[in-house]
């Protein structure tokens, strides 16, 4: 089957950095597949997400290829890729009503006039289960809680019905209870829309509950990739074993 996304020999080096942030990464993502990218600080996991969405600064030296065999053309941000960042406070515009921020993505990507885009935005705010979406669309980011802001960011990411949703530590800044709600929301939306998901996280347990497949990164290299069940029950590398052992759950 043709994958949606195909990375071959992907390497990234930031300007002035001694070591590459990513090196020799070969990775496929099937349409509708949920792939978790796991790693600690400096593993290259966010660099990978940004390389896929072409969000890296112009000054990086990039090697290898990011190909989209599942699309007829190169993936467009907003249209084919929706991106959710860790901190919704900095990814949302502080002086624009949140409904307009969702509508703007629809207007720009779906050839939709502003009236229709605003209507669709309210539908999306409802889909991400925000209360009183028509009223809330008028609110500014600072009037919302962290969890509500992240729901707005998710609405903006999926409004154009992208084929791929990238969530880069999208729940790390939230408390445990809100994190669980956002995880359930992402899981439901991905299933409803048949989107592929690239779920970038430092938390292997969180990722394992959502992903079909897990790819473990360390120091810019792909250490191990396997189906979630296989990786959790039979990890092949010491590093994956260490990450699993360091998980602090309530039942051990």
């Amino acid at each position: 089957m043709t994958p949606l996304l195909e990375l071959r020999g992907l390497g990234v080096r930031y300007k002035g950095a001694v070591a590459p942030a990513l090196e020799g990464v070969d990775l496929d993502l099937a349409a509708g597949e949920r792939l978790a990218i796991i790693g600690e600080s400096g593993s290259g996991k966010s660099t990978l997400a940004r390389a896929v969405a072409e969000l890296l600064p112009q000054t990086v030296i990039q090697q290898g290829t990011v190909a989209w065999p599942g699309l007829d053309q190169k993936a467009r941000n907003g249209r084919d890729i929706g991106f959710v960042f860790q901190d919704p406070a900095s990814s949302l515009d502080p002086v624009m009503p949140v409904g307009d921020q969702v509508a703007e993505v629809a207007h720009a990507n779906l050839d939709m006039d502003w009236r229709a885009a605003r209507r669709l935005a309210v539908e999306l705010l409802d889909r991400v289960r925000l209360p009183e979406p028509a009223l809330l669309a008028q609110a500014y980011p600072h009037q919302l809680s962290g969890g509500q802001k992240q729901r707005v960011a998710i609405a903006a990411a999926i409004v154009a019905r992208p084929r791929l949703l990238i969530a880069d530590e999208a729940t790390s800044a939230l408390d445990t209870i809100v994190q669980a709600e956002i995880m359930a929301l992402i899981s439901a939306l991905v299933a409803e829309d048949g989107m592929a998901l690239l779920f970038v996280s430092h938390d292997i347990a969180l990722a394992a509950n959502l992903a079909d497949r897990v790819a473990v990164f360390r120091h810019g290299r792909l250490v191990e990739q396997a189906a979630t069940a296989e990786l959790v029950s039979q990890p092949r590398t010491d590093y994956s074993r260490a990450l699993l052992a360091a998980h602090l759950g309530l039942h051990a």
């Binding site: 408390d175 445990t176 209870i177 809100v178 394992a208 509950n209 189906a227 069940a229 759950g249």
Partner: protein, 262 residues
């Protein structure tokens, strides 16, 4: 059982516009010497306000705090400084808490000097001992804090807190920003220090997984109140409050796969 810290009826209101918001509403808790009490709750539940009041960064509207038998809230000047040596703090982000240009040795030297723990001549040796105590190579002493890793910085913050031989350390989300492997190491370091030195911890966190690894007792906060308090194992196994149940349910677990994959 003796009590190191006794907090009774702590209340604090903030004004937001023309509304009054209760950040704390009658919070009571106690910590015995050498014990770890975890204060757990969602964002905005009031956990950090309790920490700020203990450090006298914020004054409560009502309530009493007795620390080591002394009334903490009335203290000023030298008496407050003396108590502060005995009640230390480690924050979530040491980079925000430290002067970025300071060296590792300088940071650990501050409390030794300010509280007159050891004489000038003995301070380098005291610094080296503290570095060793928290598992850092003494060669790091001359480094600046931006030159070391996040885990190393948190070890420096712990060494700095330990320097005055406190009876209580308030750990406010102290392991929340760390990588998983580093977090596990820091939690075992904290447990080891408690075993060896008998220091008590107030461990503030929203992460019940980390709490389970270190706490003897758990107090769960929501909306400025303590909604549940008990032995850690009991609270986790059978939470009595709605917030406790929500926290337990929300804590990520590794999925269990019954049959091994061929």
């Amino acid at each position: 059982m003796s009590t190191l810290l006794q907090v009774e009826g702590l209340s604090k209101r903030y004004r937001r516009g023309n509304q009054e918001v209760a950040a704390l509403d009658g919070v009571s808790l106690s910590i015995a010497p050498g014990e770890t009490l975890a204060l757990v709750g969602p964002s905005g539940s009031g956990k950090s306000t309790v920490a700020r009041i203990l450090l006298r960064l914020v004054e409560p509207d009502a309530g009493r705090i007795s620390f080591n038998g002394e009334a903490l809230l009335g203290l000023r000047g030298a008496a407050l400084r003396a108590i502060r040596a005995n009640l230390q703090m480690v924050f979530q982000d040491p980079m925000a808490a430290f002067n970025p240009r300071a060296t590792v040795a300088g940071l650990i030297d501050d409390p030794l000097r300010i509280h007159g723990i050891v004489g000038r001549a003995e301070r380098p040796r005291a610094i080296a001992t503290l570095l060793e105590r928290v598992g850092l190579a003494t060669e790091l002493a001359g480094r600046r804090v931006h030159e070391i890793s996040g885990g190393q910085r948190q070890r420096v913050a712990i060494a700095r807190a330990l320097a005055t031989r406190p009876a209580l350390i308030v750990l406010d989300e102290a392991v929340s920003a760390l990588d998983v492997l580093v977090r596990a190491d820091i939690l075992s370091l904290l447990a080891e220090l408690q075993r060896d030195e008998g220091v008590a911890y107030l461990f503030i966190s929203h992460d019940l997984g980390a709490v389970r690894a270190i706490a003897h007792r758990i107090a769960i906060m929501d909306g400025g109140r303590i909604v549940e308090q008990g032995e850690a194992a009991t609270v986790i196994a059978a939470p009595a409050s709605a917030t406790g149940r929500a926290l337990v349910a929300a804590t990520p677990e590794l999925p269990v796969f019954k049959e091994t994959v061929s």
